[in-house]
Symmetry: C2
Subunit: 387 residues, 2 copies
Amino acid sequence: MNNFEIYNPTRVFFGKDETERVGKECASYGKKVLLTFGGGSIKKTGLYDRVINLLRVENMEVFELSGIQPNPRLSSVRKGVDICKKEGIDIILAVGGGSVLDASKIIATGARYNGDPWDFFTKKANPKPGLPLGTILTLAATGSEMNHNAVITNEETEEKWAVVDPAIFPTFSILDPVNTFSVPRDQTINGICDILAHLFEQYFHNTPESPIQDRMNEAIMTTVIEYTPRVLSKGDDYDARAVIMWAGTLALNHLLESGVDDDWSTHNIQHELSALYDIPHGAGLAIIFPQWMKYVLDIIPHKFAHFGERVWDLSRDGKTDRELGMSAIEQTKAWFQKIGAPVSLKEVNIGPERLEEMAEKAVCRGPLGSVKPLYKEDVLNILQMCL
Amino acid sequence: MNNFEIYNPTRVFFGKDETERVGKECASYGKKVLLTFGGGSIKKTGLYDRVINLLRVENMEVFELSGIQPNPRLSSVRKGVDICKKEGIDIILAVGGGSVLDASKIIATGARYNGDPWDFFTKKANPKPGLPLGTILTLAATGSEMNHNAVITNEETEEKWAVVDPAIFPTFSILDPVNTFSVPRDQTINGICDILAHLFEQYFHNTPESPIQDRMNEAIMTTVIEYTPRVLSKGDDYDARAVIMWAGTLALNHLLESGVDDDWSTHNIQHELSALYDIPHGAGLAIIFPQWMKYVLDIIPHKFAHFGERVWDLSRDGKTDRELGMSAIEQTKAWFQKIGAPVSLKEVNIGPERLEEMAEKAVCRGPLGSVKPLYKEDVLNILQMCL
């Protein structure tokens, strides 16, 4: 196990009807709230009206930033920062999925920074604790509700970069599984691919003597695989939505990465895909991950064998670690296919034309990953395997 | 899964040589530090000198409260509070195991309360955030380093009671496994019994649809059982000490209890044992737990069957849940015996004389537990099974 520091001050309220507390929680930070959300699905579901009412009951003045898109744009962040500065906002309330939350994290810190928020991504400035940020999660996927990560796309430069800093933890997050009942099937699938991908990034590593991290990770992977058919067959299955929601949070709240060399090369490659082609994050991960796994199998065959035995319940049957690991990878790909996720670039209409450009961009800040450092040629190889 | 709130602001620094940062961390809170510790084993190991030097390098003025005993006494807490108030202490640094940490948590909140710290236990007053509290853990056991629990014995009234309140989280905790190398074999064993008992209290419950909590719990139980022989055969096995230390923290940092009805009746019964007889906490738990398990087996036989299959690797072989569960309980008791823990009251020289008195006291604030509410007669039955 490696040395590590772990610190997570986000307060989580989990369960049915926890949404009801949002007014009082927000009001404890001031009078002016900036409500941030996405394309308006929260208006269709009634969540928007419910939240507005709960805020108004507390006599809060509500400002709005809507239209935050999947793969959130820097332009939305800049708009939000402008509102905060101009109106003297006391607290931001983000209602949505990871994109709305990520954008809001940067708005919160940007509101107290004299400069352009892209500076946090180019490392020109370090984020400082900003405005309080509350969230109401409506999609189980990114873990953004209880972590200090945010990924933003600069549409001018076609760059999709991350800020990872304790200054951007949400203050509180309301996780009411009922708010995910209306998530459409394709978004539910993308979210689940994202959750599993987060688990993979932290599970396939080279750090010895990390049995707690590995087994806890297996615990969550196994559970996600078990409960996915339930959420897909019945979107309002409360218990199944609850399990997937909590799995999504734990999959990326800094617990599983503590003490191990997590990898993240697949996410970095995927960010280039999304930056150029705007495909859903989870879909890109489902395409790339099985190929990345094959690419690094020979470095940690024992990990892939554990993955096969403990997560996919494969029996050893005299197989070598490598053989068992390869079966587990095939099983993973087949499972993605079975739940309706794409497993090739062809399925999302991406050809070979810009692979080299993506490979180049992916490694522009150095080689990716830790299991096997990936250089431009490696990334290109993996992308070609994805065709 | 039940609704829950989870919040844990303790900052943990984990790993070899993390002790080195203690001076700078403490100095960031002020000039005057109260160093709290136990019977002086930290003087023998050299940790005391090391910490004092690190504090002095930062020009801190060091006050001391030593002699905090296992099953920490209210009198120690009162002494600590007096020093804090009289000297204007800025931060408390607790160096030791759970007893030193628990006492220090109450000293920290007591230092800012105008009254007797026992008031927090009798509910006459609620603890408020107190002085900052740093800890250096020297024994893997109670999880006190990253939770908001404290158990104190009032030696005048022979009561051993708990405070559970977010106001008493440590500010930071340094978990350097090297600081546990010198823990004697019997204390290591007691610590491991305590860790497993914490896991049991949160695993054997009646809450449906909690697969993440259950499997993460199994992940840690399995790991503790796997690594215990290594720490017992070689006390300076860094990786084994590290795994047990992190297991101890995660076993009781509010993560596994979130969303389930944890039980805690065994702990409450054990507190009566320790209050009357002053036996080690872990030893009492090893004695009581297998008997409690038998007492509630018929209520949740499926849980005990899972426990047998997933933790003890027992095969089903046509057994019913109850049969498999009973085998798992026997296995648990045999394992405690094998590592050198007592499994009967006789082994710790306790006879039947005061069982009724303990049963009476255990339920004085109402029936215990959630799997099966235990009344005086139930507690007496269990204690008699322990003879």
